[in-house]
Symmetry: C2
DNA sequence: ACACCTTGGTTCAATGACCGAACTGACAGT
DNA sequence: ACTGTCAGTTCGGTCATTGAACCAAGGTGT
């Protein structure tokens, strides 16, 4: 049983001939989709992912490398003087938004009592439908035109600064501004 | 065996206040979404999941138990004489179809060369859109009205009988008929 | 009655993934 | 020179997954 594939990333589903299985080989590992979610919410820096997710450092480093290698995130330098990099979503990464939207809606309807966040079409204020479309405009809303705002179920005074920054009404992908320590 | 503790299934994301994280605690473990996918395709029996997925027996048993416990699958007796049970999707489980559709489409567009399966609206033959809706009828198609059929990329002579049975054009959820050995 | 098959599991040792804490290294500010 | 921040790497322990073997209940064939 040779793995046809040369590089053998983590956990594969070798016997499966299925695009769902292929997708899960890439983004099905623990923490991975939460990293992508945070990136959609505007998180870009290693340390912000770290404190917001509560993920072990080694695992975060591994996930960022895999996601970068698969073309879902892109690592780029945003300042020179102390050299600092940030991780931003590529087109391929942004294309995961409908999946995450559907998954979040499923989670909310079946396992959450209160609404945690609202996602609305910036142009008209309508809450998004199950795959990220605007029911009023009847069109898929580009990520930049989606505003996220906290719902009643969300803790108003979270411990970590990233969660606090995410309480502010903002657009998807808009870089997160954390409080200066 | 397992989780004596009230709930606390395996891997949680304790710090996350997010319906995506809640969802991933339930269906984010390895193999779980593939079990749900197979169930949507009409697989119902332990042995069919086993040979189709190539999953270790212990893991399959654990996943079926978790999914049953979370109300995603329901275990029910379908014959008495040799007592046999089957696992069928509940409403909560069927509600995962849009998520899996979105995920599969993402996988196909970014990591697959050829089309493996088509999913069409039975009434009009139109291929489904990215969240399981019919672009022609402009409505979400109920699962029973979705026909799946093999695409050009799918192996025509797979080794296991479940994959062979899945080559037949059939509707979602329609129970799979494997060849008698 | 006896052997043997199918279905649906459970048990076990070995491997691999994940965990938290400590350590490293590059740079900046004082 | 010392302190602090950021972005990792290293390390020992723990937990999940794996494949193979074992088990049990209920047929079927002779």
């Amino acid at each position: 049983m040779a793995t046809v594939d040369g590089m053998a990333l983590g956990k594969d589903y070798a016997t499966q001939e299925c695009s769902i299985a292929r997708a899960l080989e890439i983004i099905g590992e623990r923490w991975t989709l939460l990293v992508v979610r945070d990136a959609l919410y505007g998180v870009r820096r290693y340390n912000d992912f770290l404190v917001h997710l509560g993920i072990p450092r080694a695992v975060l480093a591994a996930r960022l490398q895999t996601l970068t290698g698969e073309g879902i995130l892109e690592k780029r330098r945003y300042q020179q003087s102390p050299p600092r990099d940030e991780y931003v979503l590529t087109e391929r990464g942004r294309a995961l938004w409908p999946t995450l939207r559907a998954l979040g809606l499923w989670g909310r309807e079946h396992f959450t009592e209160t609404q945690l966040r609202y996602f609305r079409h910036a142009d008209c204020g309508t809450e998004l439908g199950p795959y990220g479309e605007c029911p009023a405009c009847k069109a898929v809303v580009p990520l930049e035109d989606v505003v996220m705002e906290p719902g009643p179920g969300l803790d108003r005074a979270p411990a970590d600064p990233v969660s606090r920054a995410l309480l502010k009404r903002k657009r998807l992908l808009e870089p997160l501004e954390t409080e200066p320590a």
